[in-house]
C-alpha cells in the first residue's frame, strides 16, 4: 500500500476548499484545464479509467478517476504531496476507454504541471530533470563501467554522446518554464 494520506484530511470540508478558491481567485478546475486537462469537466465518474489504470491496481490512492473528482471539488493543496501523478506510466489506456473523451492521462500530466508550479516535486522527479538536462535522459542509464568492460563506448549513441545535440537540448530546456522556476541548476 502506498500511504498518501498526509495531505488529505479524513473529513473534507468542501466549504473551506471553496473559500480557498475564492481567496486565491482561481478555480482549480481552470488551472488544470489551462495545463492541458481541457475536457476535465465532462467527467461523469463512470470509473472506466480506473478499471484499466495500473496505478489503481498497485494501490496508489489518487488514481485518475479519484484525482479528477478531487479536482472538480477544488482540491489542490491536499494533493500536492501525493506521489500518484508522478507514478503515471503514460500508458494511455484510460484515454482509450473514456466515454467522455476526458483523456484522464492528460489530467495526470496537467496535475504534474500544477505541482511543479507549486514546487511540489518529489526528489526522484528532480533527479530525473537534472539527468535530462545533463545527459538528455530523464531516466539515466547507469553502468558506464559495464559498457566499457564489454567493449561498448562509455556513452550510448544518443544525445549523451552527441555534443551538439546535448547543447541544443540544453538551449531548449533553458527556454522552458523549467528555467524560470529554477528547479535545477542550468549553468552551462
Amino acid at each position: 500500500m502506498i500511504e498518501s494520506e498526509e495531505g488529505v484530511p479524513n473529513v473534507l470540508n468542501l466549504s473551506e476548499i471553496a473559500e480557498r478558491e475564492r481567496e486565491e481567485d482561481e478555480r482549480v478546475v481552470e488551472i488544470v484545464r489551462e495545463f492541458g486537462a481541457e475536457n476535465l469537466i465532462y467527467c461523469m465518474q463512470c470509473g472506466s479509467c480506473a478499471a484499466v489504470c495500473p496505478l489503481a491496481r498497485v494501490g496508489f490512492e489518487w488514481y485518475n478517476k479519484k484525482l479528477i473528482k478531487a479536482l472538480l471539488l477544488g482540491m489542490k493543496e491536499e494533493l500536492l504531496d501525493d506521489p500518484t501523478p508522478w507514478a503515471c506510466v503514460a500508458c494511455n489506456r484510460c484515454t482509450e476507454v473514456c466515454p467522455r473523451q476526458v483523456s484522464p492521462f492528460e489530467v495526470m500530466f496537467a496535475v504534474r504541471r500544477m505541482m511543479v508550479e507549486e514546487f511540489a516535486i518529489p526528489t526522484l522527479a528532480i533527479e530525473g530533470l537534472r539527468a535530462l538536462y545533463e545527459y538528455g535522459h530523464a531516466v539515466y542509464m547507469t553502468g558506464r563501467e559495464a559498457r566499457k568492460k564489454v567493449g561498448l563506448p562509455e556513452k550510448p549513441p544518443s544525445t549523451d554522446s552527441d555534443e551538439q545535440a546535448l547543447k541544443d537540448l540544453k538551449t531548449i530546456l533553458k527556454n522552458t518554464k523549467l528555467a524560470k522556476l529554477g528547479l535545477i541548476p542550468m549553468n552551462d
Binding site: 470540508n13 466549504s15 478555480r27
Partner: protein, 699 residues
Amino acid sequence: MSNDEKPRIGVYICHCGENIAGAVDVKAVAEFAKTLPDVVVVRDYLFMCSDPGQELIKQDIRDGLVNRVVVAACTPRTHEPIFRKACEDAGLNKYYFEMANIRDQCSWAHWHEKEKATEKAKAIVAAAVAKARLLEPLEDRYIELTKEVMVIGGGIAGIFAALDLANAGFKVHLVEKSPSIGGNMAKLDKTFPTNDCSACILTPLMVEVANHPNINLLTYSEVESVEGSVGNFKVKVRKKQTYVDWDKCTGCGACLDVCPPKARVPDEFNEGMSLRGAIYIPFPQAVPKKAVVDMDACIKCGGRDFSGKEPRLSKSGKPILAPCEKVCPTGAADRTPYRDPNGELVELNVGAIIVATGYKVMDKHHFKEFAPEHPNVITAMQMERLISATGPSEGKLIKPSEIPKLLEAKKKGEKVEVEKPHTITFISCVGSRDNRYHTYCSRVCCMYMLKQAMILKEKYPDLDIYIFFIDVRTPGKDFDEYYMRCRQLGIKIIKGRAGGIQPLPDDRLLVKGYDAEIGKPVEVVTDIAVLATAIEPNPTLKELARTLGINVGAEGFLKERHTKLYPVDTMTEGIFIAGCAQGPKDIPDSVAQAKAAAASAMSLLDPGKMTVEPLISEVNKEKCTGCGICVPLCPYGAISLVECEDGKKKSEINPALCKGCGVCTAACPSKAITLHGFTYDQVLAQIKTIARWPEIPAE
C-alpha cells in the same frame, strides 16, 4: 349454423413456442383429444394466435368440418376475444368457442413435472370439450354511450385531457377541488429541460380551458358519488361554498389586503412561506380569477357570518361591515345574504371519467436528521416559490428565514436589508427509495434539483452549489445533456445522499455527507439546504378511488389495467387515469398520458354505442319463487323484485348493469337464474370430467 345441429368439435392445441410445449407433450394431448366424444378434428400449431394458426380454425369452419371450437392455449383473459373473432369471421357464432388454459394453469405451474403436466393438460382439454358440447349461440348486446366526459383534476394533465376532448367535440366537465385550475405546475418557476417559464406556458392553456365552449369548468368542487357504468356514469359533484358571489367578483383583489392579521394563515400556493387572508385568490394568474373565503380561517369581522342577518348599526347609524365586503367594489363579498355552507350539488351524466388528481410533495418534518424545524431547510417545492417572480420574495434570492422581515417591511413600504445566501446545498431522495417512507424513485427530483441549481448558478455565478445524489437519474430526451451543462457551470455533484444537517450557532447549516467517488466523508457549511422530498399521491386519492371503484397500488397511486399495454386504463371500464395520480412523472410524460387518456375516452365514446358480451344472468320467471336472496347479493345493484302479472313478486335483472359475475346464479335456491355462457349443465359437465378423471363421462 343452426342450434340443433349435432356438435362437431375442433380442438386446436397451441405450443405457445416453448411455453406450453416445454412442459406438455402436445402430440400426446392431441392424440388423446381425438378420442373425446364429438371431436372431429384435432390440430396443433406453434402459435395458434398467429395468422396461420387462426387460419387453421377458420378453414375448418368454412369447410363445414367443425361447428364448435376449443382452443387449448393460454389465458382467455388476453386471447379469448381473438379466437372468438376468428370464429365469427368464418361464419360461426362466436359463443360456440371455448378456451382451455393449458399454459398459465398447467405448463407454467408444473414446469418440472412434465408427465403430470401432460396428464393435467388432457384433463383440462377434456373438460373444455365437455362444455363445448353444450354451448349455445348467443347474440351481443349494445348499450348507448353518453358523449360527455368528466375530468377530475385541473393540473396540467387534467387541462390537456379536457382540451383534447373538448376540441374533438366532446362535452367535458372539469372538476377541480381548489378555487383555480393550474395544479402544481402553476407553482413552478421554470421547467426542465428547456427552462421555459412555467406560468408562461401554462397560463394560456388555463385561459383556453375557461373559455372553451365545450368545457364546463367546476372549480372548488369535489366528486361526491359515482353510480352506473361505462357509457352512463351518474356523478354527483359538490360545488363547495365560495362565500363570494362569483358572478359579481372581478378578481380585482381589493379584499385580499384588508383581511385582518388574525385571519391570516399559511399560503398554500407559497408552500407556507408567506401568509394569505381568509378571503383569497390562490395566485395572480388564477383561472377563474375569483376570491373565496376560507371559513376555517375567517374570524367573521363584525359578526358578519353569512347567516342572512342584516348588519348591526354603529352609533352613527352606519352598518357595521367586514373589511372585505366594505372594500369590494362590486358587492361580490357581501355578507348579508345567507350562504349554504354545504354549497351546491350538481349532477352529471358522463360516458367516461379521467382521473388526473396529481400529487403532493412530502413534508420535510418527517426527516429529523435534516433539521426540519430550521427555516433555511426547505423543500424543493419551497425553493420553486423562493425563486419564482410570484413567490414570497418576488423572485429575489434571500434566506427563507428573512422572508417575514421582508414582508413586514414591504407592508410598511420600507426598505430593508436582508441576508442573501452564498451557499446552497441540495439533498436527493428524501423520502424516496427509502423503505421507511416510499420505496419508489420519485423520478423528477434529479432533474428539478439540476434545474434549480442551474437557474441559481446562471443568475448568481458566485453561489457555491452542492448537490448530494445517490444516483443521478436522467433518462429523458435531452436530460443527460442538461445534467452535463450543470456540471460545466461548476455545480458540485457529490455522489452520496447526505446523512444529516446540523444547525450552526451562526444560523448556518452543516451538511454532513459522504463522497463515494473519492471515498471520504465530506462536510459543507451552507446557508440554505433544499430537500428533494418525495412525490406522494394526494391524501384524498384513496377515498376518490373507492368512490370511483378503481384500484390503488401498494404505494398509493392509481393502478393501471396493464403496465405496458393499458397504461391509462383502469380495471373499471370507462375510467381512465393520467398524470401523477398514476405515479410520479414529469410534465412531458403527464401531458402524453393525458392525451392518451383523452384519446382512449374518445375511441370508447365516439361510436355512440358499444358491444356488451351477452354473458350475463337471466331469471326464469317460471322457476323464480321471489325469495329475494339474489337482490342484496348483486355487487352491481342489477337485480330488483318486480311485480308480475299474477301479482307475485319475482326477480328481474337489468341487463345494462349485470356484469355476469354469477353470484346470483350460484345462490338461487331454485336454480331459476341462468348465467349465459356458464349454464349449470355446461359447468357441471366440466366439473364431472375433472372429478371422474381419467374416466370420460359418456353424456
